[in-house]
Symmetry: C2
Subunit: 611 residues, 2 copies
């Protein structure tokens, strides 16, 4: 291994045998797949097969950093996780902020590959190159905040931890992994917390002190200064209002989930939940991930009333959308509480909110009754019921047992006609952006490798005033156009695959006048490579195709690249929105991708990409 920016080693742990070993990360793998989700996808593709049970011992759980992580690059202390999803049964990836990624890498590894299942609860402690598998019997059953606190007492306050709560233990199919506890971050999506739970693995604790050697320190310093200027003015909204700063705007342009994605307009509710309202009424202070100058994290406190609690991480835009608007719940305090509980149990607020919205609609339609909910009034806008449902799902108690399976499985179980309002793509519930408000989002949700994902294409934010040089025009009027949108999604997906491989926070794109070139420059000055714009995007394309190939092996084709019925045939009232002509866009998209009409990568394209 010669490339700078890498530690050059992959750590493998088999929890079944208790053995671990190190493997060299070759230059070729680094150049072809970078790190993060790219490296993870390569390992998962090669070392598992179509029959792997997501919750069985043969599934892999991969934590991977990229070349910029652990350096002084902005917004770069992140990591990525890759596995086969227990929620969707296909490719799973989830990216996480905080500090764990940089700290893990500084232990001396680019990736950690976990296989097997421990007989009893354990956690892994990586103290630089010293790896220990430790008993976690005393942690099992504890929530993520408590677990984090205990692990820091046991292993020293400087360690960084990634843990599961009771949701992961209970195999909630959208359980997540929480890094650094109550002011922490999550690998939110696809249920990787349940994969950890299935392996009897409560936590991965890291304590790294190595440094990341980079190729051109001088240029790195210059570059960081230059980007600092660009970041100064750009993300003002994120600074002042957090990720929810545009919630009321999203509502006004039809880009917001209301009442299980049915309702078009809810301005009074949106005003109560939007970021500036939260800043004015609940905010205690802001917080940030490693090497970030944005500070989008919120520390809030629900003062007075039934949900008065401690100062904790506040709900993000997605959380407010799904546990709030999607349930017609405009009680901000109840969302703060439900969010806290999701974080304690360790489960995805997006999937949770979709599941509760789905259940509320089923309740309204008489498919679920009080005998199913043990008397709970599961009606729209009942914030107390939202909180109670989070508890039940986390504990898999009563109706929570069913809803912990996700919308797709719950709908199959409930039957009757509930597929009509089961909102998911490839089994993954969507975040708070509506494909009927942005046709690129429609195409992005339909073709993302992990299901309904807003971060694989991330186009919605670049059609309403913002633009990325070379990629998005920033024109809101383009959102209902089809021409050129396939190309836009194609290019954005390739770029986002690079973001999640490097791994960078995508909010760096909100820097003033930001373009893609600074990221390429960062990569080059860390590694000493000389990658140009074209090669950078080609690498992203290679990574995206590899993820798709993993899904192709599982039978995923064009028929699966679709949207929920409600998004295909329900035009919302009172909001600007249109039904997306997905099929036309798909055909154009497949052409850009060099896939056949079924969405299967052609041999020519794979050869071109070296796959």
């Amino acid at each position: 291994m010669k490339a700078k920016g890498y530690m050059g080693k992959i750590l493998r742990v088999d929890l079944g045998s208790g053995k671990f070993d190190e493997e060299e990360l070759t230059d070729k793998t680094a150049e072809d797949f970078i790190g993060g989700c790219g490296l993870g996808a390569k390992i998962l593709y090669e070392e598992t097969d179509a029959g792997t049970d997501p919750l069985g011992p043969d599934n892999l759980l991969i934590f991977a950093a990229g070349p910029v992580n652990g350096t002084k690059a902005f917004n770069s202390d992140r990591f990525d996780t890759v596995s086969k999803s227990p929620l969707t049964g296909i490719f799973a990836e989830s990216n996480c902020g905080g500090y764990w990624g940089a700290n893990f890498k500084k232990c001396g590894y680019d990736a950690l590959v976990i296989r097997g299942r421990a007989d009893t609860p354990v956690y892994i402690f990586i103290d630089d190159e010293q790896v220990l598998i430790k008993n976690a019997g005393h942690l099992w059953g504890r929530d993520t905040f408590e677990t984090t606190a205990v692990l820091k007492v046991e292993n020293g306050g400087s360690v960084r931890v990634a843990v599961i709560g009771q949701a992961g233990e209970n195999l909630v199919r959208y359980a997540n992994i929480i890094s650094d506890g109550k002011h922490g971050r999550a690998t939110g999506r696809c249920g990787l917390g349940a994969v950890m739970g299935s392996k009897n693995l409560k936590a991965v604790v890291v304590n790294g002190s190595r440094s990341v050697e980079i190729a051109d320190e001088g240029r790195m310093t210059e570059l960081t200064k230059k980007i600092a200027v660009m970041m100064e003015d750009g993300p003002e909204g994120l600074r002042s209002g957090g990720t929810a700063v545009g919630l009321d705007y999203c509502e006004s342009v039809g880009n917001h989930p209301i009442k299980n994605w049915y309702q078009g307009s809810w301005p009074d509710g949106a005003k109560k939940l939007t970021g500036l309202t939260m800043a004015a009424t609940k905010l205690v202070k802001k917080y940030h991930c490693g090497r970030c100058v944005i500070n989008c994290g919120r520390v809030v406190k629900a003062v007075g009333g039934p949900y008065d609690g401690e100062e904790i991480a506040g709900p993000e835009y997605e959380t407010l959308s799904l546990l709030g608007s999607n349930c017609l719940n405009d009680d901000l305090d109840s969302i703060i509480k439900a969010n806290e509980l999701c974080n304690r149990y360790g489960m995805d607020t997006i999937s949770t909110g979709n599941c509760i919205g789905f259940a509320m609609e089923a309740y309204e339609r008489g498919l679920l009754g009080k005998s199913d909910t043990d008397g709970l009034e599961l009606v729209w806008g009942n914030g107390q019921a939202v909180i109670e449902m989070v508890e039940r799902i986390g504990q898999r108690k009563g109706i929570g047992k069913l809803l912990g399976e996700g919308v797709k499985r719950a709908s199959r179980e409930i039957g009757g006609g509930s597929q009509e309002f089961a909102i998911e793509v490839k089994g993954l519930e969507p975040p708070g952006h509506d494909p009927r408000a942005h046709f690129t989002v429609a195409l992005g949700y339909a073709t993302s490798c992990r299901g309904a994902c807003h971060l694989s294409a991330f186009t919605h934010d670049f059609e309403g005033g913002l633009s990325i040089k070379d990629l998005g025009s920033g024109e809101l009027k383009e959102r209902f156009q089809t021409d050129g949108r396939a190309e836009n999604v194609y290019r954005m997906q390739n770029l986002m695959s690079m973001f999640d491989s490097l791994t960078f926070c995508k909010f760096i794109l909100f820097g003033s006048g930001i373009a893609v070139q600074p990221l390429i420059d960062y990569l080059n000055c860390v590694t000493g490579w000389d990658i140009d714009h074209k090669a950078f995007f080609e690498t992203g394309e290679r990574i995206f195709n590899l993820k798709r190939l993993y899904n192709t092996r599982l039978g995923i084709t064009r028929k699966d690249d679709t949207l929920p019925l409600r998004m295909l045939n329900h035009r919302k009232k009172g909001a600007p929105n249109e039904l997306p002509p997905l099929n036309l866009m798909l055909s154009e998209y497949y052409e850009y991708r060099g896939w056949d009409e079924f969405g299967v990568p052609t041999p020519e394209k794979l050869k071109e990409l070296g796959l």
Copy 2:
């Protein structure tokens, strides 16, 4: 039984035991369900259950006439057939023109209910009230034209026959029943020919000489004269060009299936297939059903070339659309030949054309190869291949075995991703009208009790210049509106349920300035009842609800009231078309219907309708 216009008797035949008996038709049943599909639905609902196998001996095949059939009312010699469909597994109905209906009724019966399965091929001969079950061993394996000819030789030239061809014998799931041979008519849809085949029943031959007693002969004569004037100018297009007179118009407004419903525009092809072209180049003479003044039937001859043949019934609009445009086949002679073969084998040209279009797309995408087609080049526009496919399906030979199962089952078998272009609703392939060109058609297809049906709502013809007083505005611009369309479909479906119960030909609506009142007047002067406009529509609503209830018992709900993916998410290029906001319309529609949000009739509504 006191009501005039009825024979007052239902004939039941059990082919298993060879026994038959007569049952009285009560006044209440006649008033509540009229006849035709209404009477058939009542019998099917009451005498079968959810577990009935469509191709098993317990399924019923019901032939039913209505009160106007056999009278001198215009366009009224028809009959209706009702059963459980082997294609869709749900309620099946199919209406048929010609002369059989009036002749059957004149035997002294309002309905014939066939149950059981004969050990060897038989046919039923009803000679007034004399009923015989006769050997059909010598007819088995013969096509419908030959069978008709032999039956007329055996039983006299004046008999009317309804027969199946080899497709029905071979249980092609969309086999039909052909009445009166080569210049005949068909109960085209839902595969009732296969139900006959499953019962070893080759034909039902009737020879009726009774007369239908009506309540007010004098008023009947006056009314008929009055309607004669209305019919004089109205259906000029149908007279001159047949049902295909508007094919090129349909193409130009996006209301036409091209290339398996993918392509938006095909003007040169449409010009070659449209009714006036056929009239100018292939027409020998016109023909008509009993008591019709329209003469929409075509007798054609493919002169010269490889398909030169006898003078036979020409293809209808639907046939030209599905065996023509939908396969990109602009060779009119090949369609005439394929249509003749469909009629000989006895199978639905709509389903056949959709199946071939589906297979051509599967072939283009490499899901079917030459090894599957025994070397046949199943490429778009290959008219010879269309003919060859009809032969194979009728004989269930090679690839025809699979395609004889219908698009839905074939797609499941082929898999891969072919669901994306499997065009069917509830298992029934659509006729040549596009839901993306008329939102009422979208709603009509989604909610018709038999699947993708253009005749249950019949709205498409009344949004482009024509209007029915009180029902349709005739404004083409309304076709992409959603407001008020649910009401329109609701009212039209109730009206069409009356048409198919009476039973009348729907083309009577093309009479100049025609309104609904003359039909009500006909019913009243035949029966002596005094039904007003409101009661007339309520009866239609009762009948429609009973069909829906039959489906509800089978688990049909809102989730099934949908459209093929291609119609929900593919906006065609080069044609005026929009993606239908089906869900919004469905919600409004269910409200009009008094059904719950799942599409299940409420107890209150059923009580109101006396169900």
